[in-house]
Amino acid sequence: MASGEHTIKQYDQELESLRARILQMGGLVESQLRMAIDCFERADVRKADQVVDADERVDAEEVEMARLILNLIVRRQPAANDLRLIMGVSRAVTDLERIGDEATKIARAARWIHDKDVVVRTPRIRDIRVSAEAALSMLHGALDAFARLDAVAAAEIIREDKGVDEQFRLILRQLITFMMEDPRTITGSLDTVWVAKAIERIGDHSKNIAGDVIFIVQGEDVRHATQEEIERAISQPN
C-alpha cells in the first residue's frame, strides 16, 4: 500500500519505526495474555506477578508511542495513507494497553481464587479456557492482519467476536445456576465471572484492532458498522 519512499528519508524511518514498535507491543501483550491464561488454568501464583510486571512495560509503551505519534503529526503533517496509518496505530495502541489491563485482571483473579481455595474452579475451567483461547486467537489474528495490512483477514477477525460474546453469556448462565445451587460458591463464582468478562473485553479490543486495519487500508471507519457495511468497505479497491 505505502509505495515508494518519501523525499525526506527521516520521515520514512519514523514511520517504519512506528510500525515495528506497534508490532512489538502487540507481541508483548500477546505473551502477557497467554501467561495470564496459563496462570488461571494452573493456579500458578508466581506467573500472576509476572503478568503484573509485564503490564507496567505495556503501560510505558503506550505513553512512549503516544509521544512518538504526536511528534509525527506536528512535524510531518501527514496526509492520506500516512495519516491513516498513524491514526490507526494510535487507536490500536489504546486497545492493546486495555488488553494488557484485562490480562492483569485475569491474573489477579487467578490469585484470589487460588487463595480462597474454592471448589468452584474445577467445573467451569474448561469453558473459560475455550473462551480464552478464542480471545487469544482473535488477538493473534488481529495483530497478524495489522502486520500484513490485510483488510480481508481483519474482517474475518471481526466476525469471530460474536462467538466470544456468546461464550461469555453461556459461562455467565452456568455460573448463575451454580451459585443458585450452592450459595457457598458465590464469592468464587463471582471472581470467575470477572475473568470471563475480561476475556470477553479482550475479544472486543481485538475486534477494534482488526477494525483499525480496515481503516488504515481502506480509509473506512468500521466501528459500529454492520456486517454488510464491513463487507462493502473491504471490497472497495484500495
Binding site: 509505495s3 520521515y11 492520506a80 480509509g219
Partner: protein, 270 residues
C-alpha cells in the same frame, strides 16, 4: 457534467445547493508547438473554493490563466476545447467574446502583490472607471465596500489618498483583492496568493477567501498543499498538463483514488 454529491454531504461545511459556475471541457493549450494542457475537463462549483495543485510545470497556472484570457496577450498561444461560464453559457475562449468582458467578470490576484503605482483609492476605483462609473459618490461607496469585503477598510480608511506602495505586503495583497472585487466578479482566480507573505498575512488571506466564497466562486493555484487542504472544498491534482484526479478536498487528502495523487500529497514524489 453531473453534479456528484448530495447537499447533505458537502465538503468543508459548505452550505446551500451545489451548482456549476464554470465548466472546463476537453481543454488543451499550446504555447506555440508545445502542448502544455492536455484535454482537461473539470467543474468549478458556485460559492466553493477549488484548488489546483501539482508539481512545478504541471500546468496549473496555465490553466488558471485560460479563465481570464491572459494568454491572449502573447502571440503564438492557442486554445482548444472550451470553458463555459454559467448560468448564461458564455464561452470564455470563443474568439468572438471580448476578453475585457471576461476580465470584468473574472478577476485575478497574483502571487506578487502588484498594486498600481497610484493611491489606495485609485487602485480600487480603476476597474470601475474603466466601466464608465464617474459619479464621485458612487465610486466612493463602491471603493469602501470593496475594501471592507477585502478586510482592509479599517486599516486604510484614513490613508486612501496615500500611495499604495506604502502598505505592507499583506495589505497590498488585500488591496489587490479589493481591486478585483470592485467590479463584482463572479469568479476570482488566485495564483499562489500567499507565497510571498508571512504566516500571519497568509492566515488573514485564507480567512478572507473563506468569507469571500459565500459571494464569489474561487479558483486558487497553490503549491502549498496544506493551504489547499485548509482552504478548499474541491481539489484538482495536475501532472504534466493532465488532470490526474479531481474530488472533494477531504477525499483527496484522506483517501485519494490515484496512487500518483497520494504520492504527491504525502511527499513521495520525485
Amino acid at each position: 457534467m453531473d453534479v456528484p454529491i448530495e447537499v447533505s454531504e458537502q465538503p468543508g461545511g459548505a452550505q446551500g445547493p451545489i451548482t456549476l459556475k464554470a465548466e472546463v471541457r476537453d481543454l488543451s493549450f499550446f504555447y506555440g508547438d508545445f502542448q502544455s494542457l492536455k484535454n482537461l475537463s473539470l467543474p468549478i462549483y458556485e460559492q466553493r473554493v477549488t484548488a489546483l495543485i501539482g508539481p512545478s510545470g504541471c500546468g496549473k497556472s496555465t490553466l488558471l490563466r485560460c479563465f481570464n484570457r491572459i494568454h491572449d496577450l502573447y502571440p503564438g498561444n492557442r486554445y482548444e476545447g472550451s470553458i463555459t461560464l454559467h448560468p448564461e453559457q458564455l464561452e470564455i475562449l470563443d474568439r468572438a467574446v471580448d476578453p475585457m468582458d471576461v476580465r470584468m467578470r473574472i478577476g485575478m490576484v497574483f502571487q506578487k502583490p502588484s498594486p498600481f503605482p497610484t493611491t489606495v483609492f485609485e487602485n480600487v476605483a480603476y476597474g470601475l472607471r474603466l466601466r464608465g462609473v464617474r459619479a464621485k459618490a458612487v465610486l466612493a461607496e463602491k471603493v469602501e465596500q470593496a475594501l471592507r469585503d477585502a478586510a482592509l477598510w479599517d486599516e486604510v480608511k484614513d490613508r486612501l489618498a496615500q500611495d499604495a506602495s506604502n502598505l505592507s505586503g499583506g495589505q497590498q495583497q488585500r488591496l489587490c483583492i479589493a481591486r478585483a472585487l470592485a467590479t463584482d466578479p463572479e469568479l476570482l482566480l488566485f495564483d499562489e496568493p500567499t507565497s510571498a507573505l508571512d504566516p500571519i498575512a497568509t492566515a488573514s488571506i485564507e480567512e478572507l477567501v473563506d468569507e469571500l466564497k459565500k459571494r464569489v466562486s474561487i479558483l486558487i493555484v497553490t503549491h502549498n498543499m496544506q493551504q489547499a487542504a485548509r482552504c478548499s472544498d474541491y481539489t484538482a491534482f495536475m501532472y504534466l498538463g493532465e488532470l490526474v484526479e479531481f474530488g472533494a478536498t477531504e477525499q483527496i487528502f484522506l483517501k485519494p483514488s490515484k496512487k500518483q495523487t497520494e504520492d504527491y500529497i504525502t511527499g513521495r514524489f520525485g
